[in-house]
């Protein structure tokens, strides 16, 4: 089994090197691990920091958004023939040790999409973010019919078969909900695995704001209108 670990980064020079270097070297059942870092047109030294690591750098010449960076990473995973793709945020909020847990249901062929959920063990998550997540979970449920506890988590594992089927169009954070909508469209098996979230001052600052939540809803509605 070939695993592609995709890390999207936009202006993450302070933490991206540490995030990549903390990736696991060995995972039971995986014979090859490819680390792919997508620099989404960062204006700081993110590229330089990625180049210092062993990850494959994929560079967007302009900033396109979290969704676009994730799509490019997933496209790269398909191109290199990965059997499983796992996505992580570049701000250091995800613990790379959880990768093994998150990919396990895909590895066992029990799931097509696994969401690493922050809300089952949500200690440390600001109350406003918890509320925003619950609201977006409801919106995602209305649009997909799938009720998940953390629809906005960027820590996900995809099976190759699922990746081949889905067609994602979102360019921003609305890709998180769009993936679940696509999973519903193809009746994919979705599982949730609790993950640990590292809420540092830095990752809290980099996270999504409540205003962005409203923007995500408007984008999801416009995606739905466009079909």
């Amino acid at each position: 089994m070939h695993l592609a670990i995709i890390i999207s980064a936009y202006n993450e020079e302070k933490v991206i090197g540490r995030v990549i270097n903390a990736l696991p070297h060995k995972i039971r059942g995986i014979h090859k691990i490819s680390a792919i870092a997508v620099n989404d047109g960062s204006a700081d030294g993110t590229i330089g920091e990625i180049k210092k690591t062993k990850a494959k750098l994929i560079n967007h010449v302009v900033n396109l958004g979290y969704g676009s960076a994730t799509k490019t990473g997933l496209e790269a995973a398909k191109k290199i023939g990965a059997d499983i793709a796992v996505t992580l945020d570049g701000d250091g909020q995800h613990d790379p040790k959880d990768i093994r847990k998150v990919i396990e249901p895909v590895l066992k062929k029990e799931a097509d999409l696994v969401i690493g959920t922050r809300l089952i063990r949500s200690r440390g998550m600001p109350a406003i973010k918890k509320f925003g997540n619950i609201f977006l979970n409801l919106v995602t449920y209305i649009l997909s019919g799938y009720l998940v506890s953390d629809s906005q988590s960027g820590f996900r594992a995809f099976s190759r078969g699922f990746l081949k089927k889905i067609k994602l169009s979102a360019m921003g954070y609305e890709i998180c909900s769009e993936t679940i909508i696509e999973a519903a469209r193809f009746h994919a098996r979705v599982q949730e695995i609790p993950i640990r979230v590292i809420y540092s001052k830095y990752s809290k600052k980099k996270g999504q704001s409540i205003l962005n939540g409203l923007y995500i809803v408007s984008k999801l509605i416009s995606h739905r209108l466009r079909g």
Binding site: P24, H25, K32, S34, A55, I58, S68, T72
Partner: protein, 121 residues
């Protein structure tokens, strides 16, 4: 009816304000343009909450039977049309830019060596 208009205008203004704030914060938009759009939406909210101001403006511009209501309605429809055209074009350009950037980004992917060291065989 007025309550619907007020609510509608407020929701739209909040959405625009949130987008403007995020764009300004991410330096995707300049301060001048942000202030301009904030000004426009404040004006829209004022009109939505105090619609009598429009009547005053109409009488100021030449009495009650000037047909300005129709002119305003047509102007609004025209603006919505222009808005739609700009949106559609922007969307197309955005998608083309995304496609182009992705193709450039993935161009040299053949023979990827992005393995993390110490991988178990």
């Amino acid at each position: 009816m007025q309550i619907i208009a007020k609510t509608f205008a407020t929701i739209l203004a909040v959405l625009v304000a949130s987008r403007l704030y995020l764009d300004l914060k991410a330096k995707r938009e300049g301060l001048t343009m942000t202030v301009f759009w904030v000004g426009i939406w404040i004006a829209i909210l004022i009109v939505a909450y105090f619609p009598s101001l429009i009547d005053k403006l109409i009488s100021l511009l030449g009495g009650q039977r000037t047909g300005l209501g129709t002119v305003f309605g047509m102007a609004l429809a025209f603006l919505l049309f222009i808005n739609y055209r700009i949106y559609a074009k922007a969307h197309r350009v955005e998608k083309a830019l995304e496609q182009l950037s992705r193709e450039i980004a993935l161009k040299d992917l053949a023979g990827v060596k992005g393995k993390v060291k110490g991988v178990k065989k």
